[in-house]
Each structure stands twice: as structure tokens, then as C-alpha cells.
């Protein structure tokens, strides 16, 4: 079995998901993990798909090209390692909200603080809203090494004061029922 990373990007309109996934289904591919969302009016699709032996990235890209032309999409298909990465990132699960008047480098500053503590960002969504007085909103899903959360919170607060941003962190451990 072979596995591919597919990315699709284009001005949002109805029918993109249907058109792209139909081609992949007809090519005998399975959608595995996917994430699709609107980013500033553009529709972005990121897919990891699997297909049988004998399927090649360049063939899939060629099969998708009529759809890409029709819907004016930027599209790429790349081969990725066939092994599913099942390593679970250890640590405590937290979420963090950060928001402020927009300024360059916010994500870099905040994520550097997290990286210094070996915090793993398992999800990050950012939104620029409310123009002309733009506000930048970030929502992090984090895996924090055991016992480090208090220090991370403290360092984030220091960074937040320096940057003039609001930061809050809350535990996000699931209750497995």
C-alpha cells in the first residue's frame, strides 16, 4: 500500500470537496486523516490518503488536474512514508487562547516560549478578525510535559506582558467514560 499527502487550495465555492474526493474515490484511494477549512475566503484541504500498489503521485495529480482547472485550485500530491505514525505524544493536555491587536511575529513569539519547554503543539488555529482594527486570535491545543504546566503558564504570562497580548491556559484532559 502507498500513502500520499494531498493539498488543495482555492477560492471557496460549493462543490470543491465533492469534485476532489470523487476523483480520489474513483482512483481507488481511501481518505484517512483530513482537515479542511476556509482560510480568508479560500478553501484549504489537507488529506493523507492511501491507495493500492501501483498508484503514483504523478498519476493522481494528473487525474485531479481537470478538476483543478475547472475550479481554479492549486493542488499537489506527494508520496509520504507508508507507515502510519502512531507515536502518541506524551504529556498533559492543555489548551491556550492568545489574542491581541494584530502585530507581526505573535505566533513565532508564543510558540518559541512553548518550544523552550518542549511543549508539543498538536493543534493551532489562528484568525485575523475585526478589520480595520484587526484582532489576532490564536487557539492552541497542547501537550505539556508532565509537571511543567505551571512554569509554562508563568513564562507565557511574562511573554504576554512584553507583547501586550492576553493569554489564558486551561487543562483539557479528557474524561474517558
Amino acid at each position: 500500500m502507498s500513502r500520499f499527502a494531498v493539498s488543495v487550495f482555492g477560492r471557496d465555492r460549493p462543490g470543491i470537496v465533492a469534485a476532489v474526493t470523487r476523483v480520489l474515490a474513483d482512483a481507488g484511494c481511501n481518505l484517512e486523516d483530513t482537515s479542511m477549512m476556509i482560510l480568508r475566503g479560500h478553501f484549504a484541504m489537507m488529506l493523507v490518503i492511501s491507495g493500492g500498489a501501483g498508484i503514483f503521485a504523478r498519476d493522481l495529480e494528473a487525474e485531479l488536474s481537470p478538476v483543478a482547472d475547472w475550479l481554479d485550485l492549486q493542488l499537489s500530491v506527494r508520496s509520504v512514508s507508508g507507515d502510519v505514525v502512531t507515536v502518541q505524544v506524551g504529556g498533559e493536555r492543555w489548551s491556550a487562547a492568545v489574542y491581541a491587536a494584530d502585530q507581526p511575529g505573535l505566533v513565532a513569539h508564543i510558540s518559541e516560549v512553548l518550544a523552550d519547554h518542549q511543549v508539543n503543539i498538536v493543534g493551532l488555529k489562528t484568525r485575523l478578525v475585526g478589520e480595520p482594527d484587526a484582532v489576532y486570535v490564536m487557539h492552541f491545543e497542547l501537550k505539556v510535559p508532565a509537571g511543567r504546566a505551571a512554569q509554562v503558564q508563568s513564562d507565557l504570562s511574562v511573554a504576554a506582558r512584553a507583547l501586550g497580548v492576553e493569554v489564558s491556559m486551561r487543562p483539557d484532559e479528557p474524561d474517558v467514560l
Binding site: 482537515s35 477549512m37 486570535v137 483539557d172 479528557p174 474524561d175 474517558v176 467514560l177
Partner: protein
């Protein structure tokens, strides 16, 4: 002691609406015993509804004793034909389920509930619960109606969603 395997998706039994327990006969009591035994065999298992062990009957076992997120705690609770009388103060919390591999999701549920059901002695028991015990009661009650937390996740990716589109 009969420890039964806990079913996981895509087991079809998880999506069936369970039948009321008509009589507290020997088979019904055995299901209850199996629920308690199976719950005890899994670390961190705070609740188990019959459909999770493949039995389509309205009964569950629950015990939040010692859980750090528990406030109310009624010890081991075993209820047949349970129903929710009252649910207030909805709160969002991240839930996982033994029957759903790997995933967790944010679910809005009442954080205070009053639940009524029948004990294994046939008496009516009314339980007033909050915090984790309330959430666990509602989670197990959902299983009796073929509902998983996946059916209740508000927004799978994040709860931040654009209010209007860009043009």
C-alpha cells in the same frame, strides 16, 4: 466473575436503542453483575452501560469514587431503566469513551442532574449528581439510546468559527 470485552466502534450494538428491563430476573441480574465486574477490570473506567458489552438492555453501572474531577459521589451506582428528571447548568468538557478508539471531543452537557432508576433490589433510587458524576451518568444514559459522544461534539476541529464569510 465475568469480565466481558468492551465493544468498540464500528460494533453495531453501540448504535441500538436498548430495551427496557421488564423483570429483574436472573438474566438481568447477571448482566448487572457483568457490568460491575467488567468495570472493575479496567483501570480508570468510571461507568459502563450494557450496550458497551453488547447487551441491548437499559442498565448501567457507575462509580466515580476517588476520581479527581468528582464532586458528588454515590459510590457504586447500578440503575435499571434510568431516566433523567432534571439537567441544569450546562458545561463543556472534553470526553473520551472506551468504545471510541483514540478520539476525544468537547461535549456540552448539564453539570447538575437528577436521575431516577431501579436498583437491583427493585426499589426506586433517585440520584442528584454534579461534576464528573453527572457527566458520567449522562454519558452512560446516551449509550442506552445508541448515542456516542461523537454524536454530541459541537465542532469537531475547534469551537472557533467564522461568523460571516469574506467577500
Amino acid at each position: 466473575v465475568a469480565v466481558r470485552p468492551v465493544l468498540r466502534l464500528p460494533a453495531p450494538q453501540l448504535k441500538v436503542v436498548a430495551e427496557p428491563v421488564a423483570r429483574l430476573d436472573q438474566p438481568a441480574q447477571e448482566v448487572a453483575d457483568d457490568l460491575v465486574d467488567t468495570m472493575g477490570a479496567y483501570d480508570h473506567c468510571v461507568g459502563l452501560a450494557a450496550p458497551k458489552i453488547g447487551v441491548g438492555l437499559r442498565v448501567f453501572a457507575l462509580d466515580v469514587t476517588g476520581h479527581p474531577k468528582a464532586r458528588s459521589c454515590h459510590g457504586l451506582v447500578l440503575l435499571f431503566n434510568p431516566e433523567v428528571l432534571l439537567g441544569t447548568e450546562p458545561k463543556v468538557a472534553r470526553e473520551g469513551c472506551m468504545s471510541v478508539p483514540d478520539l476525544t471531543g468537547n461535549v456540552l452537557r448539564p453539570s447538575r442532574v437528577v436521575v431516577r432508576g431501579m436498583t437491583s433490589q427493585g426499589t426506586i433510587r433517585v440520584i442528584e449528581a454534579d461534576a464528573l458524576e453527572a457527566r458520567a451518568l449522562l454519558h452512560e444514559l446516551d449509550h442506552l439510546n445508541g448515542l456516542l459522544f461523537l454524536d454530541r461534539v459541537a465542532a469537531p476541529h475547534t469551537d472557533l468559527f467564522q461568523r460571516k464569510s469574506y467577500r
